[in-house]
Subunit: 353 residues, 2 copies
Amino acid sequence: MSGKAADTHRGKVKRATLAEVANAVGLAKTTVSRALNDYPDISEETKRRVRETAGSLGYVASSRARQLQKGSTDAIGLVISAAAVGLQSAYQSEFTAALAAALDGHGLDLLLHSVTDPVSEIDTYNRLFQQGKVDGFVLMRTRCDDERIRFLTERGVPFVTQGRTDQSADHAWIDIDSQQAFSDAVEFLAGKGHRRIAMIAGDETIYSSTLREAGYRQGLEKAGIAVDPDLIFPGDFSAASGRVGVKRVIDSAAGVTAILCANDATAMGAISQAVELGIEVPSQLSVMGYDGVRMAEMFSPPLTTLSHSAAECGERIASMIVGLVGGDALTDHQVLLPAQIIERRSTGMAANV
Amino acid sequence: MSGKAADTHRGKVKRATLAEVANAVGLAKTTVSRALNDYPDISEETKRRVRETAGSLGYVASSRARQLQKGSTDAIGLVISAAAVGLQSAYQSEFTAALAAALDGHGLDLLLHSVTDPVSEIDTYNRLFQQGKVDGFVLMRTRCDDERIRFLTERGVPFVTQGRTDQSADHAWIDIDSQQAFSDAVEFLAGKGHRRIAMIAGDETIYSSTLREAGYRQGLEKAGIAVDPDLIFPGDFSAASGRVGVKRVIDSAAGVTAILCANDATAMGAISQAVELGIEVPSQLSVMGYDGVRMAEMFSPPLTTLSHSAAECGERIASMIVGLVGGDALTDHQVLLPAQIIERRSTGMAANV
DNA sequence: CTGTTAGCGCTTTCAC
DNA sequence: GTGAAAGCGCTAACAG
């Protein structure tokens, strides 16, 4: 605002433009553009010269302008809900980092958007896409009946979900075979002599929670143990719900020697509460988690868990979304990855009850 | 490529354009644009009509086009290095989420970029800005002598750091007064009768590590305890370094009854290792962390720590970067926030040695 | 109050 | 092999 100094004011940094480069080399903008983009109809010599002066001018093409012209954005949106505080679970944040890294490998950026009001969630997806800020989305924490999926599908917006839903048949997703994993976990526990195995479930609106519970039941059956509905306690993936869950187990379910938790955070909460109640883990109570977050290894006792790779998941999703945005035919667009039991010291042989 | 079907192919979603809206209302693009942006020189009646048809057409302005015209991006870049796996520490990810939420409140997006090769780090900052993808940056994990800061400062690129540096005088930053915090922590421990208090330090290339160590020394002095350099063990903010640290303490430093760790992850690692070595926390050894991550509360035993608010930090940084990008004068551009001791159960009275 | 004319910086036909 | 012209969708002068 202060007159003469206006064009020098802080924050306004001059970026070299195509026209300037063209001018400097003595060629037309068109030619420079094609040279820089390595078109075959430009002579090697010219390309060299152009690249050189472009470099010396510190020229970097404005992606805004390019995007406007080409119609694409080279950015993928990831919307997190502030309600689920932090970058949600440790796993979510490990995954997010992996996704960012993987997208980077494909030359895409990750636009991280936080939405505070759940009501405006859909609106956020809509705006981000309509505004042309992103070419597509990655969805985390998919819900059983996921409104976002319906919305995006209807509009033909490319997206990949991390986790299945009731509508899984129709969209691209990648997921961990949590049902199998939980079944394995129960068998593993049964193999250690546990007969009364409780489960602290995850947020029931999240589809994967239902799968984890189904796996738990399935494992019980395989192990020849009758499913006792009273041994399934509600939870919400938080450590706090693990604490509450343990108290309930103690209060209401006699003879439980092992607890399978919906995720690692819940398991850690459960252990910490158990210890406070004077229950020793694993000698009196085995506790097992799911996800294999890094912290699980450092917990005391180190957590037995079902591990899967956030990095692989991120990379696969990145490839998938790149394909979708590029309009590729959908092959391999539904991927199920296994989880592996990592035995550490929060589980042991069943105690004599 | 397949001819006639080309314009219908998946992924190409038609977005309404300004011209279309203008056409529909029977007004000029300009008028529509101004109506939508609530310019004073458009009649209320017209604005109403325009908004109505815009709404019914589902029109959302293309931010690409607007950005190209206005020159700004409404996005802030956050570059994380994949080397420090995951979204780095739990604190980093809590902060990132908070930052995204806060930026959202200002109508800004967060562009999360991951860089694998440390060598290309500066280049990434440069490209992101030159390409016009972001208006500015937020830097985490500031290093003592931070090349990124020199680079951005030289070019006049707006940025705010979370954490100070050797060059702090010259740039906008927000930081926790970790020196004071660590000093307080030592006094707190001394107040519980601890005389030989070890420290497991953080990554020494990170500026804040030096501050935390300085605070530790300062606290010792205040408590009238001589600083013993042999009681300071190296670390890197990881839980693993906490484990290693504890072993070294046991092996080489007799009489230590308390360990102050550079952050919560280190503290958790330390506790878990101590327990494995048969050392009881806190009866035989007190361990204290820093950051106050959510998991600290759920640890067993719950961790005594120095807590500070990621949310507040994120909000403040958001305001600061908004101001900087907007070209505001720099007032309050260097903010020091306090940390608070949260006493939980990983610390107790000094054991008799 | 509203419309006309430019132009942000780039990529693309289409000529030469 | 290279250049001229047009336009992506928007906003900012400047007229009327």
